[in-house]
């Protein structure tokens, strides 16, 4: 078994096991026809994520494909960005639980720049994205600075910063100073609507919600991969994550690498918020809804903290989660894919169990392959 397969196999097996367990769960919670309902629900989830191919073949309009695929791609884009955020921090040895808070701040910054700054179209989107990235990086920077200068563990500080962000943004800024006012003077929930110049352009026109954010996420994943795998500072960042004492002895500026990685993590999470606001929501809504920041932890670990693995995991769960809404047809709550994702993370957490099981499985094959050679040598000995 190759090293790469050995690295990826626990994640793949965990996702498969989670799919089976969750299928069983639907089957068990039904009084009649459990297995049939479970299978039907899974099929709905699939068609809701990759497009309704059976209906398309029967002659339905092409939108039965583009709409679900667009939803899946946008969910995947958000999961990729927050997943990358957690993975980058992991690479330098920090556990960024704060992607949620950083994303919140990024979303707010994008909404403010989008609504309260007037710029031509070419500049407005980059400005809003930059604002979101800086806001996320600053919020993560607090945790980074506390870690480097005061020795505060980043797990605790990012959890606290998440809740500070939620309370300050959702319970104060968005309902208070930054609350939007609609044309007629009636107040609306969330911040003011962003200018059309700051909306991320739709890639397929009106036939789906797929927008520039997806491209942004793909570019981010490839860039982060290239940085980590192909540049000197990326290599040094990984070296710090593998052992900071050794890295320091080798002359690597440990604090600078850790600080930069944490800021980059925050910027990526902030961009996720920007993609949500500028791409689909059009404003900072009353509350930010789904906790993509926490999902990022699951995506990063299922993707084994590899930028391209993160992209793959995000794509897979983007499809499932876009399909989740269609499971409602069979009275399965739309958050069901989150359960699949959570269980998959739990199984990935037992990585060593998988590796032990795989080793036990592969030992006999080695044993049967090996004996002939020594056996041939016995007469000589």
């Amino acid at each position: 078994m190759g090293e790469r397969t050995r690295q990826a196999l626990p994640s793949v097996l965990s996702v498969l096991l989670s799919l089976v367990v969750c299928w069983q769960l639907i089957a068990l919670t039904r009084d009649t026809d459990g297995t049939a309902v479970a299978t039907a629900a899974y099929l709905e989830m699939l068609w809701g994520g990759i497009g309704d191919w059976p209906r398309f073949i029967e002659g339905a309009a092409v939108t039965v494909l583009t709409r679900p695929l667009g939803e899946a791609a946008m969910k995947a884009a958000l999961l990729t960005l927050t997943g990358l955020s957690v993975a980058v921090a992991f690479k330098v040895g920090l556990f960024n639980i704060g992607a949620q808070g950083q994303m919140l701040l990024g979303a707010l910054a994008a909404a403010v720049v989008g609504a309260h700054v007037t710029l031509p179209g070419v500049l407005h989107i980059p400005a809003a994205l930059l604002g979101a990235a800086v806001a996320g990086a600053a919020w993560a920077g607090i945790a980074g600075a506390l870690k480097l200068y005061r020795g505060v563990h980043e797990v605790i500080s990012t959890i606290m910063l998440n809740w500070v962000a939620v309370r300050l943004v959702d319970n104060w800024l968005v309902v208070g100073p930054l609350r939007g006012v609609a044309e007629a003077g009636a107040s609306i929930s969330g911040t003011a609507e962003i200018h059309p110049t700051s909306q991320l352009p739709r890639l397929l026109g009106d036939s789906s919600r797929l927008n520039l954010g997806f491209i942004l996420a793909v570019v981010a994943a490839v860039t982060v991969w290239a940085w980590l795998a192909r540049t000197r500072s990326g290599f040094e960042t990984r070296a710090v994550g593998l052992g900071d004492e050794a890295a320091r002895a080798a002359g690597i500026p440990v604090a600078r690498r850790a600080g930069f990685a944490m800021a980059l993590a925050g910027a990526l999470a902030g961009l996720a918020g920007a993609v949500l606001v500028l791409g689909t929501e059009g404003r900072y809504p009353g509350t930010l809804g789904a906790p993509y920041g926490f999902d990022g932890i699951a995506i990063a670990l299922i993707g084994n903290n590899h930028p391209l693995g993160v992209g793959a995991a995000a794509l897979f769960f983007g499809v499932l989660r876009a399909g989740g809404t269609r499971m409602q047809l069979l009275d399965v709550h739309k958050s069901f894919p989150e359960l699949i994702q959570g269980l998959a993370l739990l199984f990935v957490a037992g990585r060593l169990i998988w590796l032990a099981a795989l080793r036990r499985r592969s030992t006999p094959t080695v044993a049967t392959a090996a004996p002939p050679a020594p056996a041939a040598q016995v007469p000589h000995a």
Partner: protein, 309 residues
């Protein structure tokens, strides 16, 4: 004035127990060196199972079911972290995600979006002779968990600081290899602490759905588990400290709710969102300025391996 203090104290004593139990559970687990990020998830399953159990059995028994549910989730955490040396934060986060989505799924499948049907709440204990005393009278009229939440921190503090078992539990969180050289089992001590922590977190959740509310609601416990973690850190990983921190947070919350109804003008000066963020901000400040007196257990989050020294 006395009346206001009485009402504030009463509200605090009603709301604090869930937070206190969860914080104590987190302290117990973390003092033995196992990270307790999963407290939120344990509270959620505790709250859910207690609310469902109370539909078919007396409420006090249902609270016990909630505790066992919390301990079951803690057992998964223990199996992954102690037996298989998994990353404790990852395992805890995974349990939170599973409890969040799983709770929603089961609730929607069996009861619908409005939560479980209402159940019989735990009965309050009334002491008429105490109730007439000013201020102290706020102690009367709460359900059993309130009094347990006043007693348990003392017991746990005594256990951790004054008994051989407590010494061993603290040692296993600081220097597990030293404990092993005494011929004691590090895994057994950590298992005990993790399961105990699960029971307490489950109790915290069960209290939410049997005294604070009369059902399981979709968002229960809505981040209270993370506030319990803040109370644990704020209280420097000691049971009494965590108790005072949790009580302080609960009192602040009661004060905020009281102000919102009686003096809404004041909340224009200090917005509610800022007050809601205060527990976490204060915890961050405490962490920032604790300096050399760092009270984090030394081996917190480090999986124990007999062979590694």
């Amino acid at each position: 004035m006395l009346e206001i203090i009485h009402r504030l104290l009463f509200a605090t004593l009603d709301a604090a127990p869930a937070l206190v139990f969860a914080a104590l559970g987190a302290v117990l687990s973390e003092r033995a060196g196992v990270v307790a990020v999963g407290v939120e998830g344990m509270m959620r399953v505790g709250a859910f199972c207690a609310a469902v159990a109370a539909l078919v059995m007396p409420t006090p028994l249902a609270v016990g079911v909630g505790m066992l549910a919390g301990a079951t989730l803690a057992a998964v955490h223990g199996y992954l972290c102690i037996r298989w040396r998994s990353d404790q934060v990852v395992s805890g986060i995974a349990l939170n995600l599973v409890a969040l989505a799983g709770g929603t799924f089961l609730l929607e499948t069996h009861f619908g979006p409005n939560g479980t049907p209402p159940i019989q709440q735990l009965a309050p204990w009334n002491w008429p002779e105490l109730a007439s005393v000013p201020v102290l009278g706020a102690l009367s009229g709460h359900a059993a968990p309130t009094y347990l939440a006043l007693l348990l921190p003392l017991l746990l503090q005594g256990m951790l600081t004054r008994t051989p078992l407590g010494l061993r539990l603290r040692a296993v969180g600081d220097k597990p290899h030293a404990v092993a050289t005494l011929g004691l089992s590090v895994p057994a001590l950590r298992w005990g602490a993790v399961l105990g922590g699960g029971l307490l977190a489950g109790l915290g959740g069960a209290v939410l759905s049997t005294t604070v509310l009369d059902r399981f609601e979709q968002h229960t416990p809505a981040g209270l588990g993370f506030m319990a973690l803040a109370a644990m850190v704020f209280g420097r990983w000691t049971p009494l400290g965590a108790f005072f921190a949790a009580a302080f947070f609960a009192f602040g919350n009661a004060l905020r709710i009281g102000l919102a109804s009686s003096a809404p003008g004041l909340l224009d000066v200090v917005p509610q969102g800022v007050l809601l963020a205060l527990p976490y901000l204060l915890t961050l400040l405490v962490l920032t300025f604790q300096g050399q007196r760092n009270s984090t257990p030394a081996s917190l989050g480090v999986p124990y391996e007999q062979e590694s020294r």
